[in-house]
Symmetry: D2
Subunit: 382 residues, 4 copies
């Protein structure tokens, strides 16, 4: 992959990928994977945009993506990739093979925004400049900013956040910077930012598209595949208990109850919407340091069948969160960049397939979301 | 429910339900449940045809169903209902409440066909006469014959079975009798009969509809909801192991390896079709006497994610088979009767939603099947 | 069972069983079961004291137990038994068969002690009088008071509770009453009471034996069987996560975080003691109304093997709590009564086999506890 | 570890470890691990003989073990170690660190015995010579031969195998060679060989100790820890279903039903013995290529509690078989060598702790076996 290098003669358009949280697990896995797949070192498993229905050839190619981003952590992308390899998230051989490219990506990471250390208006301008500069230096057709930074706590009165004065959630600051620089925006974290008037207005003013929020990778993915089964079969869901054990950086962040609240709210909303009424049941997110990047989720589903017969379904999901998230991030980059190129602006609810808490949409059922996605993709092409 | 009683003045059309295996678990649960729901003693949980999308009011009502059937077992329906109540399949109070009705249903059960004890041509005529007589005596608009008899072994050269001479699978004998009597036919068991030339021809000759086969109630239902998730997310299914522990009459039958072979074949076909290639993995069906009517199924699903990361999903399903099957049987009766009334004939692939091995169709994905069903139902109404 | 009737000529000694919480699930199940087994209507499954090693013939017989108790709930034992039968905890037929006996037991239930409504000293005397009166009226050789009342919150400075002035935990009030009346005491709930100086002193002063606390019935039982396996095999337990879903009265009580704290403390202590160091991992107790008297517990155990290989064991336990607790309560009554008869006093650590948090002992390994129990029982006989 | 090198002045006694199947997974993991732990590169996790109760200092030290063996596979130990590292069984870094030592071990591997290619008497002599030669060249105090070769089918009339004429099971040929060379013998595979008159006699004649058979590493280990819990609590085990999914070399061998029969027989015997009656339930061993060296076992345990209440325990064990087996192999070498030094001969039933099917013993309960082991070890020292 020639990604971060000089532009060849008559090159195809190149798309910039600007990660907020560029040195985190998800961003690093996405970069290692994009390089690996583009260079033919790894299969395209997990990339939805490589399915025929989504017409991969008409989308930006992985080989044409150029990576950069913001982070507040000084430890570099290459180092992170090594620790991911140790944890079994990415193959060690692949990390070695792309080591030089990773250094180039890390050279494109700029200091992030730390709340309190800068006033919001200044920060937005500085971050926007970083993005614009990145686009110019690499002669990019477009940039997609993807927020994969640590989960932030929810906001109490989102509807009151209408301007740059006063504190804004971190994600909102980045979204505003993205729009100011002419970039589209994807919120892959559980974040209120795409529902704040100040952010929605900025996107509209700049005519830019955005999508979010909170990547649908594990238990919620399962729910969106399974809950419709109960509904279509007229079975009566009595309770749905969810326990998530996870380690890693995300685990550490979610050990903070405030941050976890964002997550559980995002996770809950879908089930109730699919069933058409609240489904009771506890939901836990627990940090278990020794699990590393691996997550184990246990779901206990109680439902009644014919004549009230009591039945149960239990699920145990053992997945690698970053490896589930990374391909979706690349899918979103390709699709949002194509939407931007096609002149779309505002929320993209048809990308709800990728999110726990789809902005602009109300559909949570996976198959229906997939059909919407395919239809939208087709519309983009024509 | 006035079901098996004299026809009131200007009654709505009544539909006959003729069970092959009328004294078995599924048939008895269906009868108890239909009576219970019709009399307002039990909720309609599990009845797909009560979902708004299927326009319940336009279908035969439960209160207008009249039950009868064939069986080779002398032990009556009421007795079976009691033992189902003991096993927790149906509420004991409900069985008491409908006890008198169960006796009336049992009075409509005629001796079944035992292979070897009668030649096929004679049997077909005798069984057809039983059904015609039932229709006449109760002044029924239509009869739907539903095969819920014990699972039969598969047939080696189905394409050679073109006439009544020589041995035919039991289910085929009943299907031929149904068609000769002018009734439609549903094969709820794993059976080759709806694919035999002799049966297909008879249905065509009489212009009658049929649907099958093998009710999709447990593990296969789950698969048809979950396998598409892996496909839509481009995840690589490496193996799918299925273990079924079950007791009851069905468990005893399936302890015979030949009979079990029918079942595992039906269960396998769908997964491979949905994934588009064979997915390896053992499948076991084991009888565990002490489980009674309850089934426990464990599925172990190995899949690869991005960059080949190895992940696992495990499922434990604890369901009551007869309680899962019975409402589907009633749904099928209502839908096939409506199809018959609307002049449909031949295979009804749009009812694939209800079957492990849909006759006439190739779609196994649950949501797609549901959409097909709803569209078909709409077409029926107009 | 002639239990609550007039004493026949030359009857064997009879033992009184005085339940604190006599109208709760555990007490009622114990009574129904004792009557059922004594009358030959049910097998002795679950009764440890019926194992040969414990010499059942030398212990009080179930037929010689007489029941009574305190409760603050006016709803009677018979009513409770019916609702337990509905929930599948006890067979409905058995409840019918012993209905008359249950009424007699309920007639022996006296108003319990509600903190705040009576001062402690008055209460102790009143409750002691109830017990003495019960013994006298039924001509009982001995009475064992068993606390199976709702779980109470823990106490912050147990060592400061040295006299009757000021508030005492509910269980302590009952223990003091038991001792004052000359009865032995078993705390089957998670309770600090058997470690309070005021209670320990009273037992010593009266020369009476006691045992506790918190019946070991589910997940903790499993832990005490399994954790030693890891230790004996030198495997490195990295984390042990426990999730308990339960309904019923106990579930409702434990939905109160303060009460639940008592429970999780009791549950934790054993594992760390068996392993010899703290084993991390979350522990949840969640109420799930629709589970009724049934509990589902999921345990996720992470351990390292040779050369640090990461392995996992998961357990799903689906048990009926009251049915697990009730036979232990009867076992304890028989054993503590025999200890009392043999002149033992003070804590009985050799009964640790039955408890999550054994008073007076430090052994938590199930097999070792069983050996201690058997040896102690043998000592009692000689 | 100076293992395969020249003997230093005044060296402690050295013990030879002669593996039958020296190039297989278990043998290679044992060698890599022994080297790693001896050289301080890995913790002693999983080594039972490092527990204080077993007085590790009085046993042969890992640093004093010298490895060699027989195999029929030309692919070397170092190569195998690499593939184990790829499969996550042993750390890749450790394999690199001991690479040179592995080459030395492989240089000590001699061609094994392939049935049919050599007559038994000739083979026994040739194999014995290999072992004697090994002992002489390395100046070893003693050699322990450990059979970790591929599982062999069971024998129909073991009692008839009284001499060297005619076919003998492979393991028996190796056992006879061991004894002829003056070495003790451990059968870690499911094998009839330690119960054949010809083998038992040879051991007696040479006055040598032996132990077996079939290492207790996974599901059977769990059973031996858990089944006693049900017995001690007087709970009624109704069925115990076991499903084993495994890949690797062992998985390939066990895909052969004849070989698998050896395994299921060994696995069954213990449970019935512990419970005192046959416990029904299917047992499956399935090969799942993509699991590699990892095994997943699912157990479904149905038991009745008080008054017949139906309860269930499910277990999912995800372990790495070779990593579970290897430390036990080293434990057995240390203990059998010590027994040999102490003059013990014949079967060593006190080592039943390590085996699914303990030769010479009937005890299957893990804790009891551990106590026997500790007592025996103590006896050895004095
Ligand atoms: N992995 C999944 O399956 C998944 C699914 C849905 C959502 N997510 C979300 O993706 C996000 C990233 O997850 P991760 O596992 O990569 O976490 P991580 O902790 O490994 O990475 C987060 C990165 O964000 C950086 N960061 C923190 N604050 C920042 C700031 N103010 N500005 C710029 N960078 C900042 C951190 O330094 C870190 O490098 C989380 O919000 C998580 O909830 C992940
Ligand atoms: N319960 C489910 O979830 C489910 C799902 C799919 C398919 N099925 C199928 O439904 C069928 C019935 O299952 P069940 O649990 O009710 O079994 P069952 O054993 O309780 O009942 C079968 C009945 O068929 C009768 N029978 C046997 N041979 C007959 C013959 N030649 N003619 C007439 N009657 C005959 C038996 O006497 C018995 O009364 C089975 O084939 C089963 O595979 C059940
Ligand atoms: N079931 C088990 O497996 C198990 C195991 C260990 C411990 N326990 C303990 O046993 C106790 C009883 O459990 P349960 O399921 O029967 O609960 P329950 O709620 O069904 O019964 C508790 C009874 O105690 C009564 N009570 C409450 N406060 C009282 C007071 N001050 N004086 C007298 N009576 C009072 C209640 O009215 C009720 O009848 C709980 O503390 C529980 O933690 C149960
Ligand atoms: N891994 C465990 O947890 C475990 C537990 C109990 C028993 N075992 C037993 O240990 C044995 C080895 O398991 P593994 O996983 O190492 O298997 P493996 O297939 O990796 O190794 C077996 C080795 O034996 C060799 N072999 C085959 N026939 C031979 C012969 N005639 N002479 C000499 N060598 C021969 C093979 O070439 C191979 O190198 C098996 O019998 C298995 O059942 C393993
Ligand atoms: Na993460
Ligand atoms: Na309870």
């Amino acid at each position: 992959m020639s990604s971060n290098e000089d532009v060849p003669v008559r090159a195809p358009e190149r798309t910039g990928v600007w990660f907020v949280g560029a040195r985190g697990s998800v961003a690093t896995t996405a970069v290692v994977g994009a390089l690996g797949v583009a260079q033919g070192l790894a299969p395209a498993t997990g990339l939805v945009t490589e399915l025929e229905e989504l017409d991969p050839d008409g989308l930006p190619q992985l080989v044409d993506l150029v990576f950069g981003g913001h982070d507040v952590n000084p430890q570099g992308v290459a180092k992170k990739a090594e620790s991911l390899a140790e944890g079994g998230v990415v193959p060690a051989a692949l990390v070695s093979a792309v080591a030089a490219d990773l250094e180039k990506v890390d050279a494109e990471v700029r200091p992030g925004y730390a709340p309190g250390e800068e006033d919001v208006a200044t920060a937005v301008q500085r971050l926007a400049d970083d993005i614009s500069d990145f686009r110019r230096r690499h002669d990019l057709a477009r940039v997609v900013v993807v927020d994969v930074a640590s989960t932030q706590p929810p906001v109490d009165h989102p509807e009151e956040l209408t301007d740059l004065d006063g504190p804004l959630p971190v994600g909102a600051v980045y979204a505003l910077a993205a729009f100011r620089s002419g970039a589209s925006f994807v919120s892959f974290t559980p974040s209120p930012c795409l529902r704040l008037p100040v952010v929605v207005d900025a996107a509209a003013r700049h005519g830019l598209p955005y999508a979010g929020c909170d990547g649908k990778t594990g238990e919620t993915l399962l729910k969106s595949a399974l809950a419709p089964m109960f509904v279509m079969r007229a079975l009566d869901l009595r309770s749905w208990t969810s326990v998530n054990l996870l380690g890693g950086g995300d685990g550490r962040t979610l050990a903070d109850p405030e941050a976890a609240r964002s997550k559980t709210v995002a996770k809950r909303s879908g089930l109730d919407a699919m069933v058409g009424r609240p489904v009771p049941g506890p939901m836990h997110i627990d940090q278990l340091e020794d699990l590393g990047e691996w997550k184990t989720a246990w779901d206990h589903v109680r439902f009644d069948g014919f004549l009230g017969t009591r039945m149960t379904l239990q699920l145990t999901w053992q997945g690698c969160d970053s490896a589930l998230a990374a391909p979706l991030v690349l899918d979103l980059v390709r699709l949002v960049s194509a939407a931007h190129a096609a002149g779309r602006s505002g929320a993209l609810p048809e990308l709800g397939f990728f999110f726990k808490d789809p902005v602009g949409g109300t559909e949570h059922r996976l198959t229906e979301q997939f059909h919407e996605l395919v239809a939208w993709r087709r519309g983009l092409a024509s």
